[in-house]
């Protein structure tokens, strides 16, 4: 689905990513992890075609849908209006959505269980609800690759569970390929088949989640000790930071 080789990306004249090579097959989920400012958003913007790579090859086999982080609009569109805009690619310059487009959007509102939100003002919705409407918009564009920028960042645990469950469902039942960025290794452990750890603009670890996600790699990634923690009585695990409590470094 995604084939990127020797990818170099610049932003504002500064090289952000250098010689990134990654491959992702269809119906897989890639989690992108990295410290703030390492270039996760730049990578995502490159994947969705907003930034053109400076050099290297990038080929994506199919239309891409994008779900931005914490989306707000300056006008009071309804949730349905927002999702309908996902049809842009199918309408042409002077086109307007017709019956078929309305039906497609309704279908995804039904699929995501958010029909009651159709006529509500988008900006009045909670973070979790907005996230679902934006996913409906991406799906309405009939994409095959879904790219999400920190889909769980502003959500409470219950809504995180809902979004992660939805992404897994989209892959398993609809064969979608998904890329999402996150700050929580557990999100990757739970649903990702592949993980990309962006250590710096030039250095990264990429591979199946079980190989790439290790306490050692994550500690290097976050420049902080990260330990594996097993859930008692469950055959599940997560990775969590071991905070250092060295407040002394703030003196002087």
């Amino acid at each position: 689905m995604i084939e990127a080789s020797d990818l170099t990306v610049e932003r504002g004249g500064k090289t952000i990513l250098e010689s990134y090579t990654l491959n992702l097959e269809r119906a897989r989920i890639l989690a992108v992890l990295g410290a703030n400012g390492v270039g996760k958003t730049t990578l995502i913007n490159t994947l969705i075609g907003v930034i053109k790579p400076k050099s290297g090859q990038l080929s994506i086999a199919g239309p891409v849908g994008f779900v931005p982080q914490l989306f707000e609009v300056p006008f009071s569109y309804s949730a349905f209006d927002i999702a309908l805009m996902g049809r842009a690619r199918h309408l042409g310059l002077f086109g307007a959505p017709g019956r078929k487009d309305y039906e497609i959007v309704r279908h995804y509102f039904h699929l995501l269980g958010i029909e009651p939100l159709e006529q509500q003002t988008f900006n009045s919705l909670s973070g979790g609800q907005r996230q679902l409407v934006m996913i409906a918009q991406a799906l309405a564009s009939e994409c095959e690759l879904l790219v999400l920028d920190e889909p769980c960042a502003a959500l409470d645990y219950k809504n995180q569970d809902k979004v992660l469950g939805l992404l897994e469902h989209l892959r398993d039942k609809h064969g979608m390929t998904i890329v999402f960025s996150t700050h929580m290794p557990q999100h990757a452990v739970e649903i990702a088949s592949d993980a990309l750890l962006m250590l710096s603009g030039t250095d990264y670890v990429c591979g199946p989640t079980t190989d790439a996600l290790s306490a050692e790699n994550l500690s290097a990634l976050y420049d902080l000790p990260i330990a594996r923690a097993d859930f008692e009585g469950l055959s599940k695990h997560t990775y969590a930071p071991v905070f250092r409590h060295d407040g002394g470094r703030f003196d002087g």
Binding site: G49, V50, F66, F75, M85, Y102, R106, H107, H110
Partner: protein
């Protein structure tokens, strides 16, 4: 994707959806009826008191005489040569300015934008002033106004775009800067103008008035407004998408630059047409889209036509005020500014309360 569930979902929700849209579906026909009523009423008021029936007979007489003319020939001239062209001018100008205001607000995701704020009006105003100074009229004046209008849009866009992103605040500030520049340029032109003939012409014309409109003026402004309004309306769904922000629009597959330029050129053409025939009539494009948005929501498919018709009604009413309140004419642009500025202040306060400037 299974489409059987789509059908089921569609069945359940169609009813809710159609009921919700019914309310706003009534707005446009209702406004059009109101426009017709206000138009007929507007022809009757003024120095010569005429009833709606008189006006109807006078107008119908041109096509097919229904009754033997019982009216004064002067009345016929007042209706056909003075009032009707002026009313048509008000309708076309109000329609054009409001539609371009609504489109620009969507395009720049900024409810405080109108052709005046982003510098088109003063640019076109300078172009027109220069034309008068050089003794040019008609289509030449329109061309000058258009060239300077589009030039000022280009400058504002250039000033406010950093690395492909146009920020809300800098756009308005750039508009202020460019407007200030062209105001100064207009002052220089006035200084150079012959104080007995050209200076009064420029000054009165800049105040914005449609008092002396004739059919040629109407034709001129319609030639600018009609094609521009059609182009903007055709882009209605694209304007929706661009109002989500440039990056998001690009990710959705919209042709951002193309749509931006078509809307900007169309708006500049509308402003140039208005400025060329009637001087500077400000604030209409800022105020009316807000009222329209309150009536039918933010979706530009409904917002654009409703804004246009509402703007036509508004300018017609304002023009009626301009010609009836006092014995002397009040220039139209003065009244629209007196109404527009407080409305701008209220919108600004409300936006501030919502944290509107925090976004880009």
């Amino acid at each position: 994707m299974p489409s059987s569930s789509a059908k089921a979902a569609a069945g359940e929700t169609t009813e809710i959806r159609s009921r919700a849209r019914l309310g706003s579906g009534f707005v446009l026909p209702a406004l059009i009826c109101l426009l017709v009523a206000v138009t007929l009423y507007s022809v009757t008021i003024g120095r010569y008191d005429l009833s709606v029936a008189d006006v109807a007979y006078i107008l119908i007489d041109n096509v097919h005489p229904l009754v033997t003319p019982y009216w004064d020939p002067v009345q016929e001239i007042v209706v056909e040569q003075v009032r009707v062209p002026r009313i048509l001018a008000a309708i076309v100008i109000g329609f054009g300015l409001s539609m371009s205001g609504a489109a620009l607000q969507g395009l720049f995701r900024n409810p405080l934008v109108d052709p005046g704020i982003i510098g088109v009006t003063s640019g076109a105003g300078f172009g027109g002033t220069l034309a008068i100074l050089l003794g040019l009229q008609g289509y030449l004046l329109l061309t000058m106004a258009f060239l300077f209008g589009i030039g000022s849009v280009f400058l504002v866009k250039l000033l406010s775009t950093v690395r492909g992103r146009t920020s809300m605040l800098t756009l308005v500030l750039a508009g202020v800067v460019i407007s200030a520049f062209f105001s100064a340029a207009i002052s220089i032109a006035k200084l150079l103008a012959d104080p007995f003939q050209k200076l009064p012409a420029i000054t009165y014309w800049l105040m914005g008035s449609i008092a002396s409109s004739n059919y040629l003026d109407v034709l001129l402004v319609a030639a600018a407004v009609v094609p521009s309004a059609i182009a903007i309306y055709l882009l209605r769904f694209q304007i929706n998408i661009l109002s989500l922000g440039e990056e998001k629009a690009r990710a959705l597959g919209a042709k951002v630059l193309l749509v931006q330029w078509i809307v900007l050129v169309a708006s500049a053409l509308i402003s140039a047409g208005v400025v060329a025939t009637s001087g500077i009539i400000g604030w209409v494009g800022l105020v009316i889209p807000h009222v329209a948005r309150a009536l039918v929501g933010a979706d530009h498919q409904r917002l654009l036509p409703v804004s246009g018709v509402l703007g036509a009604i508004y300018l017609l009413l304002v023009d009626n005020l301009a010609r009836t309140v006092t014995t002397a004419e009040i220039p139209l642009g003065i009244i629209t500014a007196l109404i527009g500025v407080p409305v701008f202040a209220v919108i600004l306060r409300r936006l501030h309360a919502k944290g509107g400037w925090s976004g880009d």
